[in-house]
Amino acid sequence: MNTNTNSTVFLKDKKSYNKKKSYIRRLWGDVARDRYLYAMLIPVVAYYAIFKYAPMYGVTIAFKNFRFADGILGSSWVGFANFQRMLRSSEFLLILKNNLLLNLYTLVFQFPAPIILAILLNEIRNKYFKKTTQSLLYIPHFISWVALGSIIMGILSPSTGSINFLLVKLFKIEPIYFMTSTFWWPIVFVLSSIWKSAGWGTIIYLAAITGINPELYEAAHIDGAGRFKCILNITIPCIRGTIAVLLILNMGHFLELGFEHIYSLQNASVRSVADVIATYVYRVGLQGMQYSYTSAIGLFQSLVGLILVLLTNFIVKKMGEGGIW
C-alpha cells in the first residue's frame, strides 16, 4: 500500500514526465526497493514460463505438416492449410454445430443448477439435515464418467432399466430407448452432467452466501419480507458478483466438453447430435496421427474460448460487476 501512495505522490509532483517513462521508473523503483519480495516471485514466474508458456511453441505444428521424424522445429511450414481444410470440411461444421448446441444447453440448464441448489440448501434450517444433504450431494462428483456411463445406460435400458419400468407401469407406453434417440440423447447428456456437477458447484455459492451480512435479513424481516422476498432481494443480488466471475470462467471453456463424458455415452445412432470437437480430435488426431490438423482445431477452439471470455468480461463490466480484470 505504501508503494501506491508514494507513486501517486510522485505522479502528482512530476506531471511533466511522459506517462510511459514514469511507469518504467516507478517499476524499477519498486523492484530495487522490494528486491527480496520480487526474488520470492521468481519460482512462480519460472513455473509459468517453463511449464505453461514454453510448451506453447508446440502450437506451431498447427501451421506445419508435422512428422514424428522431423520433430516440431524441423517439420515444413504449410501456412493456414490446416485451418482451410477444417473450415472446408462438411463434417467439421456438423461437429461445431453439435458442440455449440450442447454447450448452449449446458450453459442454460447446468450453470444455474448449483445456484438454485445453493439457495435451497441455505434455506434449510435444521443444521444436521443440511450438512448431511450437502455431503451426499458431493458424492457424484467423485464417480468417474466411465463408471457413470454404464450406470446411466443400465438405468435407461428399455428392457431392464428402472426408468422405463416406471414409465411403462404408470403411463402404459412403449419403452423408450433413450440412448439411441437423437431427441433424448442431449437431454440425458445435460441431466447427467447436472447430476454429477451441481452438488460440487454449490460450494463456492454457499461460501458467498455465508459472507452476506445477516443484518440485511434481519432488517428485511422487520420490514415484513418473507423467505421468498429475501432470496430475491438479498441473497441473489449479494452473490451476483460471484455468479459473474464463474460465468466468465465458464465461458473460457465454452467449446470444451468433457471428452470422457461424451465418449462414455456416445454411440453410432446418435452421431448426428453427439459427435463433438473432442471426439473428432480423438478419432482423427490420436488414432489417425493427424496431429497438425487436430492442433489447428484445438487452436481454433482456444481462440473462440478467449474471445468469449473477453466478451463476457466486457458485458459483465457494463452491467456494473467487477469482472475478472
Binding site: 509459468y48 511449464f51 505453461k52 508458456y53 510448451p55 506453447m56 508446440g58 502450437v59 505444428i61 508435422f66 512428422r67 514424428f68 521424424a69 522431423d70 520433430g71 516440431i72 522445429l73 524441423g74 470440411s89 462438411s90 463434417e91 445406460m153 435400458s157 428399455p158 428392457s159 430407448y177 440412448m179 439411441t180 473460457g252 454411440n267 453410432a268 445412432s269 452421431r271 448426428s272 459427435d275 478419432r283 482423427v284 490420436l286 488414432q287 489417425g288 496421427m289 493427424q290 496431429y291 492442433s295 484445438g298 487452436l299 477452439q301 482456444s302 474460448g305 478467449l306 471470455v309 480484470w325
Partner: protein
C-alpha cells in the same frame, strides 16, 4: 490492485503440446558388436499377469527369454485397448521402444509415413538366418510388410489358422423343437422365430433371446453373410460393396431380426457385451455370434447354470448371393517393426531368429514335464489350472511363431476325462467350422493413401449412423431409403474420387498381390 494490468493466462490453458524432436542416427553398415546387448520391446497390457507371476515387465517368461537369448530386454507395457495411441505418444515424445509390436498393418503404414521406422531388408540380409529362410519359404508374407517404397518395414509370421468369427447354437433346443441346423438366411430367421416364440427353457415366460453378440462388432458380423464388408474386385474393377444391393439385403436382414425381436436389441449400449454374455451363459439365448472359440470357452459356465445345455458351432449360412465364410484374419499375424532410433538392430534380429528356431515352442506350450508331456508328438497339458496361471498370460511374449493348428489336436492335448474331451471336441469342431468356407478377401490389405484414410474417417461414421437408423428406428427409414442416403452421402463427400484412387492403386499394385503359396 485496481488499475493494474494482470497478464492473461487463458492461453496457457489452451494447448500444451510438449513434443520433442526425434533424433536420427545413421546406420550404414555398422557391425554393432560394441553396441549394448539391450532391447526395449512394446508389450500389450491386457491386465492378465497374475500377481503371483509378477508384472508385465518382469515375470517367468520375460526371465526365460532373457536367459535363453542373453539379451537384456525392457518390456514396455501399453494398454491393449489404446495401444496405438500410447505408442503414438511415445513416438512423438521420442521414447518409443526399439521394437514395436501391433496387429494392425495400417498403424505401421502411418508410422512409416511419419518416418520413424527402420527398413529391415539390410538387417535381415546381414544378420538373420532363420527368418531369412522363413521368408523365402513364405514368400506371400512379404506383401504385408513391404510398404510403398518397396522396402520391408516389419517382420511377421503366418498365423496358426485364420479363424476369427464364428457362431454357436443351442443344439439341445434345436433337438427339442425338432429343428435342423439352418443353412440359409431365411432358414435362420425361421428357426429363430420358432425358438423365440416357443419358450424352449420352459420357464413359462417369453424371455428367450434369439441372437446375442459376444464381440462389439454387432451388427457388422452380418455383413460377412452378404459379402458387403469390403472392397471387392469384380472383373478388373474395384467395387465398394457397401454401395451395392448386397448391402441393402444386409440392412433388410438385420432390420427383420431387430423388428421381430430375434436379436438382442440393446447391443449398441452393451459395448463390452457383458450383459449379452450373461444372457448366453445363463441359458437365455439361442445363438451367440462373434468370436469362433467363445462357445467352448464359455461352455463350462453355461453347463454350470444349465446342466442339460448342449452347443454346436454353425457354418455361415448362404444367401441369395451365395455363401461367404465367417470373417477370417489375413495370414500375417503380429507385425514387429524396428524403431529408427534402435541402438542394436543386430540383437533384435538375433532375438527374432531365436523365436523362430527355439523360442516359440516353449512359449506356446510351456516347459516339458512342468506344463506338458509329449505324447505321440502332441504336447498334452498336465494341469489345466496350473497352465491358466503360469502360461496363458504370455501370448503376447510370442513375437514370432511357427505354431500350426490341427483340429484333431484339441482332444489329444486335453486330459482324458469326459468333460475335457467334450471341450476339446467342441474346440476342434469350432475351428473346422470356422474355416470350412473361405472368407472372401480380394485385396490383401487396404491402400495406404492418406486421402482414403481421411475420407474413411468422415464417411464411416455416417455410414454407421444410417445403418443404425435403418435397423433400429422402425419405420423412420426403410432399407431402400437408407441405401439411397448412403449413395448420396458417398457422392456428397467426394466418393467418386476415392473410387478412382482405389482403382489406380489396384492397377499399380495387383501384380504384387500373391495368394498363399502352398
Amino acid at each position: 490492485m485496481k488499475g493494474k494490468k494482470i497478464s492473461c493466462i487463458i492461453l496457457c490453458m489452451a494447448l500444451c503440446l510438449a513434443l520433442s524432436s526425434c533424433s536420427r542416427n545413421g546406420k550404414n553398415g555398422q557391425n554393432y558388436d560394441d553396441a549394448a546387448n539391450e532391447l526395449s520391446i512394446s508389450i500389450f497390457d491386457r491386465g492378465n499377469v497374475p500377481a503371483s507371476e509378477g508384472s508385465y515387465e518382469d515375470n517367468r517368461w520375460s526371465q526365460f527369454i532373457e536367459q535363453e537369448t542373453g539379451i537384456k530386454i525392457t518390456w514396455v507395457p501399453v494398454p491393449r485397448a489404446r495401444s496405438r495411441e500410447a505408442l503414438n505418444t511415445r513416438f512423438a515424445a521420442g521414447t518409443a521402444p526399439d521394437l514395436v509390436v501391433e496387429f494392425d498393418r495400417n498403424f505401421f503404414v502411418q508410422l512409416y509415413n511419419q518416418g520413424v521406422l527402420a527398413s529391415v531388408d539390410g538387417f535381415i540380409k546381414d544378420y538373420s538366418t532363420e527368418y531369412k529362410q522363413y521368408l523365402e519359404d513364405n514368400a506371400d508374407l512379404k506383401q504385408y510388410v513391404t510398404f510403398s517404397d518397396g522396402k520391408m518395414y516389419a517382420l511377421t509370421n503366418r498365423r496358426a489358422h485364420v479363424a476369427t468369427r464364428g457362431v454357436w447354437v443351442r443344439k439341445d433346443w434345436l433337438d427339442k423343437l425338432g429343428l435342423s441346423m439352418p443353412t440359409t438366411n431365411e432358414e435362420l430367421l425361421d428357426v429363430l422365430r420358432v425358438i423365440v416364440n416357443s419358450d424352449p427353457d420352459g420357464n413359462g415366460k417369453k424371455d428367450t433371446e434369439g441372437i446375442v453378440f459376444n464381440s462389439n462388432s454387432a451388427p457388422f458380423v452380418f455383413q460377412d453373410m452378404f459379402t458387403c464388408r469390403d472392397w471387392y474386385v469384380e472383373g478388373d474393377t474395384v467395387v465398394n460393396s457397401r454401395l451395392t444391393d448386397r448391402y441393402e439385403a444386409y440392412l433388410t436382414f438385420v432390420k427383420t431380426l431387430y423388428d421381430e425381436g430375434l436379436m438382442y436389441r440393446e447391443y449398441i449400449t452393451d459395448k463390452t457385451c457383458q450383459a449379452q454374455d450373461q444372457v448366453w451363459t445363463s441359458g437365455n439365448a439361442a445363438i451367440t455370434w462373434g468370436a469362433w472359440g467363445i462357445g467352448s470357452s464359455k461352455y463350462p459356465s453355461l453347463v454350470a447354470n444349465i446342466p442339460s445345455a448342449d452347443i454346436m458351432p454353425m457354418e455361415m449360412v448362404s444367401t441369395q448371393f451365395g455363401r461367404n465364410g465367417h470373417f477370417q484374419d489375413p495370414p500375417a499375424q503380429r507385425y514387429i517393426a524396428l524403431n529408427n532410433d534402435i541402438k542394436n538392430p543386430k540383437a533384435a534380429i538375433k532375438l527374432l531368429d531365436w523365436y523362430l528356431s527355439d523360442g516359440w515352442f516353449p512359449l506356446t506350450y510351456g516347459i516339458e514335464g512342468e506344463h506338458y508331456q509329449l505324447n505321440d508328438g502332441v504336447p498334452v497339458i498336465i494341469d489345466k489350472e496350473k497352465n491358466k496361471n503360469e502360461l496363458d498370460y504370455n501370448i503376447d511374449y510370442v513375437l514370432l511363431t511357427k505354431a500350426t493348428s490341427n483340429p484333431t489336436w484339441f482332444t489329444k492335448k486335453y486330459p482324458a476325462d469326459p468333460f475335457n474331451q467334450k471341450l476339446g471336441y467342441l474346440e476342434g469342431l469350432a475351428l473346422e467350422t470356422a474355416l470350412k468356407h473361405t472368407y472372401r478377401r480380394d485385396l490383401p490389405y487396404t491402400p495406404d493413401i492418406n486421402e482414403i484414410v481421411m475420407f474413411n474417417a468422415e464417411f464411416d461414421p455416417i455410414l454407421e449412423e444410417i445403418t443404425e437408423t435403418v435397423i433400429s428406428k422402425g419405420a423412420a427409414m426403410s432399407p431402400a431409403q437408407g441405401m439411397e442416403k448412403i449413395r448420396s452421402e458417398w457422392v456428397r463427400l467426394g466418393g467418386e474420387r476415392i473410387e478412382q484412387l482405389y482403382q489406380q492403386w489396384y492397377d499399380e499394385n495387383k501384380s504384387q498381390f500373391i495368394s498363399k503359396t502352398e
